[in-house]
Amino acid sequence: MARIFGIDLGTTNSLIAYMDGATPRVIPGRHERTMVPSVVALTDNGIIVGDPAKDYLVRGSERTVYSVKRFMGKGLADVAEELKYFPYRMTEQGGVIRIQLGEKSYSPPQISAMILKELKLRAEAYLGEDVSKVVITVPAYFNDSQRQATKDAGMIAGLEVLRIINEPTAASLAYGLQKRTQGRIAVFDLGGGTFDISILKLKNGIFEVLSTNGNTHLGGDDFDRAVADHLLEEIRGRHGIDVHDFPDTMQSVRLEAERAKIRLSDEQKTSVALDLPEGRGTFHSELTRDQLEALTKHLVEQTLAPCRSALQDAGLQPSDVDEVVLVGGSTRMPLVRCRVQDLFGKMPHSHLNPDEVVALGAAVQADILSGGIQDMLLLDVTPLSIGIETMGGVMSTLIRRNTTIPASAKEMFTTYVDGQTSVDIHILQGERELAKDNRSLARFQLKLPPLPAGVPRIEVTFLIDANGILNVTAKDVRTEKIQSIQVKPSYGLSDSEVERMIGESFKFAVEDLQARQFIEARTEAEAIMKATEKALRQGRQLITPDETETIKASLAALEAARTQGDHKAIRARIADVEKATHHLAEVLMDHSLKEALENKKLSELT
């Protein structure tokens, strides 16, 4: 059987991992970087994904999509308040958001599928084998529509999604495999866009989730936004410029805010520099950790109530928790660590890299599914109650939140009027009394034979599978016949839409691949040229004038290929430059100036 891969499809970054024997490993891309930025850009040469796409945030922001995970399984009205923060244009069709990129519009699952394909290609290049079966992680607090949207994304990317698994529980698997932990653990997962808290009991290889809670709209993005708003205010005050009018600069501000936030996890104070629009100079400022904490304190506080609810639902006191594990990049913030420690009364830890642990856990789950690991079993729960709308607009709960999955409930339906031939059923998810206050998941119509009132008896089974996704079946009790039902999702793509998107995805696969290869080659060429020129300046006196000429010639050839050639030509010229500079690199290293050529890593140049 083909190997199953584990994917962390994150708000900011995505990763793919596999089991190397008994050890889960994240697959690196070029330059050893394990994270693929969850960014998709439409360029003149086609669609690109990941690191090269990230460059387009500040020079083509209206055609560069980031944080698409925030829009999975959502309608436009759900995100109305934050639309102003995003430079790309969004509309809605059939309850699903559509993102405008050039002439075409894409649903969030289609954009996510592009990221998934990038991960697939990365793994295929690295291992030299086909990637077709995957486990994908989602926030534990994702509702049914969001989970379904994630599964759709996998299908559109041509992947068979064998399991949707919750991020905090995936992390617990990675920890459990490593340490054989026993006892009660709390996993506090604050990522780029979502927050989850899960409380588990670990015993003899069983990972039993006792409760989960969270907020699917709270994460690093919100912290960046708070810092960015502060910087925008400062720029307006000092330079009289409203940056909101300049979408590309807005993105620079957002990215600089993110970098400053990250630096302030290690430093007390950091400087901020930004090029102002229309060549109006540079904005310089300073930000202290105290300022950052004042700006984001209210966001950190928002994580605490879900933690308390989760403890209560698990029937535990904070002191009953043996271990607190931190997951997600945002848990690097000292304020977050401090508040978590206050709440649980013990020092939280992140022995495994909080950026990678979810992907590692997904690989562990993948191994369990493929029959590798046999002694570990995850028993997860459904995060939100599922029910149906009853008379008077009240929600009648069928499966309560924090019920172990798979879970099922049966409900009997009949008629109130003689000859009635159908019953409308509205499925809801949430904890509120009234139907209108909960999330509408789907509607469907039960067909009934025309009989006197009360005679027809249709038994409807609501089953939440191990992915946390609801399946509905109906059976006529009198005839024992299974009735097929057409469920219309309230915020999801229909089956036929998904089919169409899978088709399109294959159709454009070749074009997309060519565009991607071209842009990647070109980006790398630019980086190599910069690095080589720098090396020449530093090492010219160490090599012969002939060598210098050869290197210069190879650089000129690369420049020509970069502007005119295809990706193969560019790659060939890159190889020439590397060959020509081989000796130069050696002598530079001998002079312990070895940083010079190593610095050609894209990461340090941009």
Binding site: Q365, L378, T403, T404, P406, A407, A466
Partner: protein, 225 residues
Amino acid sequence: MARSMCWHCQSEVTGEYFCDRCVKVQPLSKESDYFTCFGLPRLLTIDAQTLETKFYELSRAFHPDFFQRKTDAEQAISLGNSALLNTAYRTLKDPIRRAEYLVQLEAGSVKDIRTSPPADLFEEILELQDDLDGFRAASADNEISERDRLQAKLMDKREHLKRRQQAMESDLRSLFTTWDHLQAQDDRNQAVRAEKDVTLKHMREILSNRTYLRNIINDLTATIG
């Protein structure tokens, strides 16, 4: 587990959950109750550790994770069995749900929902409703002192009701012992059967009073905080 025919190879299934001959997983019978599902007698005192151990063992036998590479039919059985197992565990783990379930199994009919207070709480509940109305009115009209007075009074009441609830639960526990004791005796004895009926009836009454009381307490908490 009752002996039956394997859905796959049609041989007689004598093993617990898997066919001895073709090693296919067998669906838990729709007729089997939660106690049978766990291989337990219909007793109300259940050791939590034993139940958990059995739950983990059965989860390992049935969970869909372990059927990924099996046929669609086996996957469907695994899913159905796991869902049933999870419901059974949730029901048996909690003493109140366990008792409600047993009463329903033994005496039929679902727990009857009480809409009026139990006789011995009648006066108290009526007064409580008046105070709650008063509290809401005082809050709406911003009459701070009256609101605070009623809030303190209602909090006292709540404590009293909580003690009542605890008393009911302790009554239930002694009925659990009675029931378990009766289960050990010969069911053909008419006196035993009669006493069982009385015990079930008594349990049902306490369970429905307790549910009523708990709803009142929850309402109180929702209103006064």
